[in-house]
């Protein structure tokens, strides 16, 4: 049996997990720093790095104890080495390298994006090639996953990430940070969806254009005009419900349009017929979007899967799992591996 320790510190979650090649998560811990960053309305990189250092070493010890494992029993140590907030990435990477060096175990440098899109293989039965939609606070991408080391970026956002667009919209409405998840709840209360869409017409950047890139910043500006023009004071409930629905509806329209192009592009670039797609990243928690995307995937005869939410947001198990996949293929990395704040995957031509 292969056992890998995974460490994730690239944003505001300090996370450690131990996973086996039999797809068993022996132990995992996540500490979210969200309460620390809340008062700043977003993640502050220097504060995030400081917090990772404060907690990570004891978390590693706790996870190993909880899994009843000695460090010698590990097959390898995998850590996120980018992309992300570099101060935090370095803390996790150095801890991982230290364990690898001490116990003479392979070190595996994991690209955070690769870990996200491989996670469904930990929880579901998924075979290469497949299409992945990664939607989180930091990323919005379509990727064709042909193998663990052969991924092609089909499209990405040219400005804001989708989760960021949700959070910023929520912020403009006065919702507490991170407000993205509230949008779905508010939209469910919308009494007259058609009226909401008519009252709050929002732009759909790049809609019906070639390719499958995204753009959300125009949408943000439009929302700003809608919510900041009324007089000061709390937003009226009906307005909040309508704006939330109009926003979410527009986002789904954009994603569906981009998805059609992504599926065509992925089919063209894939040697075998595509039968599966996955949605990963924190925004996959939004059921309205998930169901809309799933319906569209089905019309293209694609099975659509997503891992459980705790594995969709940043976590250590996805890093450990990606480590197991690399180890299985014989891919490991030197202890001189650098942290990479930017680490794009290959772009499809």
């Amino acid at each position: 049996m292969k056992i890998v320790l995974g460490i994730e510190t690239s944003c505001d979650e300090t996370a450690v997990a131990v996973v086996t090649n039999e797809k068993k998560i022996l132990s995992h811990q996540i500490f979210s720093q969200i309460n620390t960053h809340k008062k700043y309305g977003g993640v502050v990189p220097e504060i995030a790095a400081r917090n990772h250092l404060d907690r990570l070493d004891t978390m590693i010890v706790d996870v190993m104890k909880d899994a009843h494992l000695s460090y010698n029993a590990l097959s390898a140590i995998a850590t996120t080495t980018g992309p992300g907030l570099i101060g935090g990435v370095m803390v996790g990477m150095m801890a991982g390298k230290t364990i690898a060096a001490t116990y003479d175990k392979p070190f595996i440098a994991i690209n955070h994006l690769v870990a996200h899109v491989l996670t469904p293989r930990l929880t579901e039965n998924i075979k290469f090639p497949y299409l992945a939609l990664l939607v989180s606070g930091g990323h919005t991408q379509f990727l064709l996953i042909r193998d663990i080391d052969d991924m092609l970026e089909l499209g990405t956002t040219i400005d804001d990430a989708l989760g960021e667009a949700f959070d910023k919209t929520a912020k403009m409405m006065g919702l507490p940070y991170p407000g993205g998840p509230y949008i779905e709840q508010l939209a469910q209360k919308c009494r007259d969806p058609q009226k909401a869409i008519d009252t709050y017409p929002l732009p759909k950047p790049l809609y019906r254009r070639a390719g499958c890139d995204f753009s959300f910043s125009g949408l943000k500006t439009a929302i700003a005009k809608q919510v900041q023009s009324p007089p000061d004071g709390d937003i009226k409930p009906e307005d909040a419900h309508d704006i939330a629905h109009a926003f979410q509806h527009t986002i789904l329209e954009i994603i569906k349009d981009r998805l059609q192009n992504a599926i065509c592009l992925a089919q063209d670039l894939s040697q075998e017929k595509l039968t599966q797609m996955v949605i990963v990243g924190g925004v996959s928690a939004n059921r309205y979007l998930y169901n809309g995307i799933k319906d569209m995937a089905h019309t293209h005869t694609l099975e659509c899967l997503t891992p459980p939410l705790k594995l969709c947001t940043d976590n250590g198990a996805m890093i450990a799992w990606a480590g197991l996949e690399f180890l299985h293929k014989g891919i490991t990395h030197p202890l001189s591996f650098p942290a990479r704040p930017r680490w794009p995957l290959g772009r499809a031509q």
């Binding site: 790095a49 801890a95 508010l186």
Partner: protein, 211 residues
């Protein structure tokens, strides 16, 4: 005598010493960045230099700042992880305490360290008493302490930085060092520039009524 590892990455360098009873192997490279790539290979090489492996290390000593924020964290992440997983003693020195090791026998001096900004990190030791460390300007500290001998990486009296980790090992060997869970000493809060944009805010009562 214990096998001791000393690490210094806070002061724009990557320095490592490993000592066994009778031998000490030191590797030192000045660098503004790149410690994340060099530190572990250097630690392993230093261990090999005294014919031990990292597993044989029985105590760790590290500088905990002030200095480069990233450098402080790189050294501490390695030192703390090693001490925790091996359950061995960890000793931490502020950068000021570490440099004081070069000033033995002197009772009054000041330590001035690069802050990568227009100011400096400073600590005065006056008649053997260490004053509160601070962030100040060079001009202002010269005004307050015109006659103080100054040592540091931006001071007139430079020090042999390569020897720093050797001094740290000797300090641990002397038995004066105090063991413990070592925290970083940044000497400065994180810079946060709050957004100037005004946003609505919502009370939790209003939020509840909406949901």
């Amino acid at each position: 005598m214990k096998n001791i590892l000393a690490i210094e990455t806070a002061l724009e360098a990557c320095g490592v010493s490993v000592a066994t009873g009778d031998q000490c192997h030191t590797i030192f490279e000045p660098m503004k960045r790149g410690q994340t790539e060099r530190l572990i290979p250097m630690v392993m090489e230093a261990c090999e230099g005294v014919n031990i492996t990292l597993k044989d290390v029985e105590a760790v000593c590290v500088t905990r700042g002030p200095g480069s924020f990233t450098g402080v964290r790189v050294g501490l992440s390695v030192a703390r992880t090693l001490a925790n997983i091996r359950e061995i003693p960890l000793y931490g020195l502020t950068s000021f305490e570490a440099l004081s090791l070069f000033m033995e026998g002197k009772s009054s001096y000041g330590i001035v360290l690069e802050s990568k900004r227009t100011d400096v990190y400073f600590q005065a030791i006056v008649d053997g008493q260490a004053q509160e460390p601070c962030v100040t300007t060079y001009e202002s500290l010269l005004e307050t302490y015109p006659d103080l001998e100054l040592i540091g990486n931006v001071a007139p009296l430079q020090f042999d930085q390569k020897a720093l980790t050797v001094k740290m090992i000797e300090y641990v060997q002397s038995g004066q060092a105090e063991e413990g869970q070592i925290s970083p000493y940044y000497c400065r809060e994180a810079d946060i520039s709050a957004s100037k944009k005004k946003y609505r805010t919502m009370s939790s009562d209003v939020l509840d009524s909406l949901l």
